[in-house]
């Protein structure tokens, strides 16, 4: 196993523990915004989508002629992930602004 891979696994495991610590402190009244907000955070896949869609050199022979499959898949992934990110953060913001004290 390479050192890089080991570090990735370390980070993964430690981040899960951080997640548990932070999220157990969220009160039940905010569980819906927590879910939509964390959902927006999982839209971080957009980073991978951007890299794929910005890739130019690749052409693969297909039934429809030579296509840059990586970029096409990346494009659809950007649409999906952006819906997730923009929609998730905006709806969470809308909800959180409704919570008021007496």
């Amino acid at each position: 196993m390479s050192a890089d891979l080991l570090i990735q696994i370390y980070v993964f495991v430690l981040a899960i523990f951080v997640g548990f610590e932070v999220i157990t402190k969220v009160p039940p009244t905010l569980h819906t915004p927590l879910m939509s907000g964390s959902n927006a955070i999982s839209g971080i896949t957009i980073v991978g989508a951007l890299i794929a869609a910005g890739f130019t050199e690749l052409r693969i022979e297909t039934f429809f002629g030579d296509l840059n499959i990586t970029a096409i898949l990346g494009f659809v992934a950007i649409v999906f992930a952006t819906i997730n990110v923009v929609g998730g953060f905006m709806v969470t913001d809308r909800m959180l602004k409704m919570f008021k004290r007496k």
């Binding site: 890089d4 990735q8 980070v11 993964f12 981040a15 899960i16 951080v18 997640g19 969220v26 039940p28 009244t29 905010l30 569980h31 915004p33 927590l34 879910m35 907000g37 964390s38 959902n39 927006a40 955070i41 839209g43 971080i44 896949t45 957009i46 980073v47 991978g48 989508a49 951007l50 890299i51 869609a53 910005g54 890739f55 130019t56 693969i60 499959i69 970029a71 096409i72 990346g74 992934a77 649409v79 999906f80 992930a81 952006t82 819906i83 997730n84 990110v85 923009v86 929609g87 998730g88 953060f89 709806v91 913001d93 809308r94 909800m95 959180l96 409704m98 919570f99 008021k100 004290r101």
Partner: protein, 465 residues
């Protein structure tokens, strides 16, 4: 240039991860929560900008188009969605997250497959895993969305041999994953196979789950979308994805756990037992009873409300369906003006997702410090004159406390039966999702108010004015 690529971009990713963590931490209080969410959004913006200057990102045409399309759809949905429909919106957003992971993993596969070097076994496994988890999340979330939106019936879809078929599908996906790692030939067909089987599996996995078990399913799919993002992080060796994905994965697991505890069931039982539905078909424990219940009209209740010192309102999914939250808030204000103390008791699994009732009541301007969870409110029922149950059923069934034969035995409930008088607002005598009769309705201190929840509460408001 090297410095940007080698140091500044990774540092920017670290900064976004830190902002996500601080943002989630701020969610620990309603006062700081809006700021927390904004910080997380800034973190995301930083990650996106950092990626745009990454050396392998060359062509911006598709990127700009994708962001405009996705951003417009996301913003439109976020602005328009009704608060009652938030569960299905979160479900479908989860699905998009999972779908994005599948697409990114597949894109990376095609990029690597056309390269000179063989794809390392570890990368190939990570590609397979992000496709499997992301694919299950994608179609599973679509089914959850369809059930919540009423496009599909909420009742479990069950057939003979279902669990055997699902197990075989699961084994097939992993067999394909192992084969794709081991093969020395063309991997593309295996990858395609994994995608197809994972998509079928996600569909199969959610159809047997009843509408009322959706809080568990949505939490679990939320967790999956995070784990899928983390797996994609391993594919791309990108720490931003690994950290953020793990945070979301952990969050979903915690919520799943809370929801299961709220039902006193294990996650396996929820996923595989095909329990109940929302079609009100009598289930195993149901008996058609002709026991008498007391039923009043709204105007007969005024004296009881006016003489109460404390009223505890127990909302359930029925309140959401009837869109009664605003009227309920009006009732609360009138009672308070008459010197009656009003509190809300929120069961963890009330509604269709964790915290669903809290958001609906917040929308209706009910202050959050008026909402009490199970442990806080249960000791108070004995000193409460009136408990008002609006569209909740199984979460107030006393059988859960003592009847070992009841399917919901052991589930933590709100002890409304210990209040002086219990008013139950209900459409009819149909049993709840568990398909079991509720002995609360036959108690001496229980009075049924039949009809649409919103109409009944409006009548109460009019009478009390």
């Amino acid at each position: 240039m090297e410095m940007i690529q080698e140091i500044i971009i990774p540092m920017a990713y670290l900064l976004s991860a830190v902002l996500f963590i601080i943002g989630l931490k701020q969610l620990s209080h309603p006062k700081t929560a809006p700021r927390g969410n904004q910080m997380a959004a800034v973190g995301m913006l930083i990650a996106i900008v950092a990626t745009l200057v990454y050396r392998e990102v060359i062509d911006y045409t598709l990127i700009i188009a994708g962001i405009i399309i996705g951003g417009a759809i996301g913003a439109y949905v976020a602005k328009k969605v009704e608060m009652t429909a938030v569960p299905q919106m979160v479900a479908i957003f989860n699905g998009f997250g999972g779908g994005a992971s599948v697409l990114v993993a597949a894109a990376e596969f095609y990029r690597l497959a056309t390269g000179v070097n063989a794809i390392p076994g570890f990368t190939m496994s990570a590609i397979g895993l992000s496709i499997i988890i992301g694919g299950i999340t994608f179609t599973g979330s679509i089914v959850a969305f369809a059930k919540l939106q009423g496009i599909m019936r909420g009742a479990p879809i069950l057939f003979k041999g279902q669990q055997v078929i699902n197990s075989l599908l699961l084994i097939t996906t992993f067999a394909l994953l192992v084969a794709s790692v081991m093969t020395t030939g063309d991997m593309a067909n295996y990858v395609l196979g994994i995608i197809i089987v994972a998509l079928v599996l996600g569909y199969m996995f959610v159809i047997p789950i009843g509408g009322a078990d959706m809080p568990v399913v949505i939490s679990l799919l939320n967790s999956f979308s995070g784990i899928a993002a983390a797996a994609t992080g391993f594919v791309l060796a990108n720490y931003a994805l690994i950290i953020s994905g793990s945070l979301v994965g952990a969050s979903g697991i915690i919520l799943t756990n809370i929801m299961c505890k709220g039902m006193n069931r294990t996650v396996w039982n929820v996923l595989f037992a095909g329990f109940g539905g929302d079609d009100h078909a009598p289930g195993k424990g149901a008996q058609v009873t002709a026991k008498p219940v007391k039923s009043y009209e709204a105007e007969d209740t005024v004296v009881i409300f006016e003489n109460a010192r404390q009223v505890v309102i127990v909302p359930g999914y029925g309140m959401a369906v009837a869109q009664a939250q605003h009227t309920v808030h009006e009732l609360e204000k009138i009672l308070e003006a008459k010197g009656v103390k009003v509190k809300y008791a929120i069961h963890p699994v009330a509604g269709r997702m964790p915290g669903h009732m809290n958001v609906l009541l917040a929308e209706a301007n009910v202050p959050y410090d008026n909402l009490y969870d199970l442990d806080q409110i249960n000791p108070e029922f004995e000193e409460t004159e009136v408990a008002l149950v609006i569209g909740a059923n199984d979460v107030v069934n006393p059988a859960a406390r003592h009847d070992t034969a009841s399917p919901i035995y052991g589930m933590p409930i709100l002890n409304v039966d210990r209040a002086g008088t219990v008013f139950v607002l209900k459409r009819s005598m149909n049993p709840g999702f568990a398909g079991i009769d509720n002995e609360l309705f036959y108690n001496d201190n229980t009075i049924m108010l039949f009809g649409d929840a919103k109409d009944t509460v409006s009548k109460l408001v009019a009478e009390l004015k």
